[in-house]
């Protein structure tokens, strides 16, 4: 059950997409999301979809892995689609008792589903092709200007990378605690929802206690390795923009421009 979590999972490889600077990928993802919400009309969507498919193909991540990432939110997509189908006014196509399905509703639902699937595939493509550590480095570097207004950007990035580092460790530990509780007769699988939620308590409490102990030991270990905040700290791997990054950024800007232009051209 816990092994299926794919959030923040990274598939190491050496493709054009993997080699891009994390800052480039972050900016492109943000541009992509923004364009997705601006896009209207079949041409805009076709452009966006073509760009996304190209990126996916270049990254060699595989459609199966991306589709797997969509599975947990299928319910959300279905509900959104249903709302669009049933509650959009317009030209009726089907009429059954109180339910009316309109042409506009069907079209709207189709757009909405495409938009959500593209949104999720796009963001997961980022985490699949970027190691967590370079992702946090990228975020820290992009947010660096905020240090001037005294925002703790370095601390935030450090917290994030430590959290990512400990996700697998804590998942493993949760599995161990669950097995230990099961061995003593705990039952997580049957009973009402409330009952099952309550059964999780004996897992959460030991997990929390252990997480605090780990945090304490990690803090001591970091201190003994001369950690003293972000001041005066250097990095082994410096982020560097390559010509490929600039080309990608230009392509991203061109895509955004194209979407805006086709929007204006569309009725």
């Amino acid at each position: 059950m816990l092994k299926d979590i794919t959030l923040g999972q990274y598939f190491p490889d050496d493709t054009v997409v993997h080699r891009l600077d994390p800052r480039t990928k972050l900016v492109l993802t943000l541009v992509f999301i923004a364009a997705l919400f601006v896009a209207r009309g079949i041409v805009s969507y076709a452009l966006m979809l073509a760009a996304l498919v190209c990126c996916i193909a270049a990254s060699r991540v595989g459609a199966r892995a991306l589709l797997k990432s969509i599975r947990p939110i299928i319910a959300v997509i279905a509900v959104t689609a249903a709302l669009n189908v049933f509650f959009t006014r317009g030209t009726p196509i089907v009429r059954l008792w109180a339910i009316t399905i309109t042409r506009e509703g069907l079209i709207g639902a189709a757009y909405m589903v495409t938009r959500l699937v593209m949104l999720i595939s796009g963001t997961f493509l980022l985490t699949y092709t970027t190691s967590p550590i370079s992702l946090t480095d990228g975020i820290e570097s992009l947010l660096a200007p905020l240090k001037r207004i005294k925002l703790p950007v370095h601390e935030f990035a450090m917290m994030m990378s430590i959290a990512l580092r400990f996700i697998p460790t804590l998942i493993e530990e949760t599995d161990k605690i669950m097995s230990a509780q099961k061995a003593r007769g705990a039952d997580f699988e049957t009973g009402s929802l409330i009952r099952r939620a309550r059964a999780l308590l004996p897992i959460l409490i030991p997990l929390f206690i252990s997480a605090f102990r780990r945090a304490d030991e990690l803090a001591t270990a970091m201190e003994s390795r001369c950690y003293h905040g972000g001041e005066g700290r250097t990095r082994m791997k410096k982020l560097a923009m390559s010509p490929g990054d600039y080309i990608s950024l230009v392509c991203g800007a061109a895509l955004a421009l194209a979407v805006v232009l086709t929007n204006m051209a569309a009725p």
Partner: protein, 306 residues
Amino acid sequence: MPVVYSAQRGAADAVLRAEGLVFSYKPREGELPPRVLDGVDLSVWRGQLVAVLGHNGSGKSTLARHFNALLAPVCGRVLVDGMDTSDEKLTLDIRRHVGMVFQNPDNQIVASVVEEDVAFAPENLGYPSDEIRARVDGALRTVGMYEYAKHAPHLLSGGQKQRVAIAGVLAMEPKCVVFDEPTAMLDPRGRESVVNIIRSLCDDLGVTVVLITHHMEEAILADRIVVMSEGRVVMDGRPREIFTQPDALQGYGLGVPETVSLLRGLREDGFDVPLGALTADECADAIMTAVGGAVLSGCENGDVAD
């Protein structure tokens, strides 16, 4: 209590030095503070591998934390290469000179890639990036983990993780490394690899090592053993001197290595074996000699013919 080597060495040669060190955690109101360390005087000489033994609560881990300026003494002082650990301005310098490896390998690895973790300390010290690269590669080679540089730490075995943690400390190029029960959570194979690295740090790199442990077998490899009890240093000597006093050790809640207890048992059964044979090989040789002698003397007496 014999004080080893202190006669022939001057104070300047001490990498670590505790003088009248007293430490207690903040007591509750109205209580007398229990002294975790109760007047420790100890000098660790350059290039030595010192094992610190003691049962739980003897203060050995607390002592280790003083050498790294993680704790500051309540009374007395601790000097690292002549620097007083109570001086906060020197804290970073002290930590760069004295690295520390802890018990749980999982809870001291910061990054999600092996080489990034090893780079953590030199990054904190602000070295330029090619210098860090060189140090990281060197440290990973020293502990034999270079091929794992790009791996995720959580997929490594306990022994491998602990070797990564050692590399993380070596990347600071410290003069001294304090190990706080580094093998307590490892399987026998991992333990062996870590112990071999600890010994080679001292022999090949000339790093001074303090090894806090409660495994007697590991202490055999040390140049010197310090036994702690109730926050004091109660025994101090070469392994041979310490382990030939099993009754004294038992009094401090400690056992002796299996080799010594085997030889003791044989001695009680009337075999003339020396107690000082500590390693398995020495022990086997000693038994062979003793048994060979017994068989020979038996032949002379004609016992075998009966």
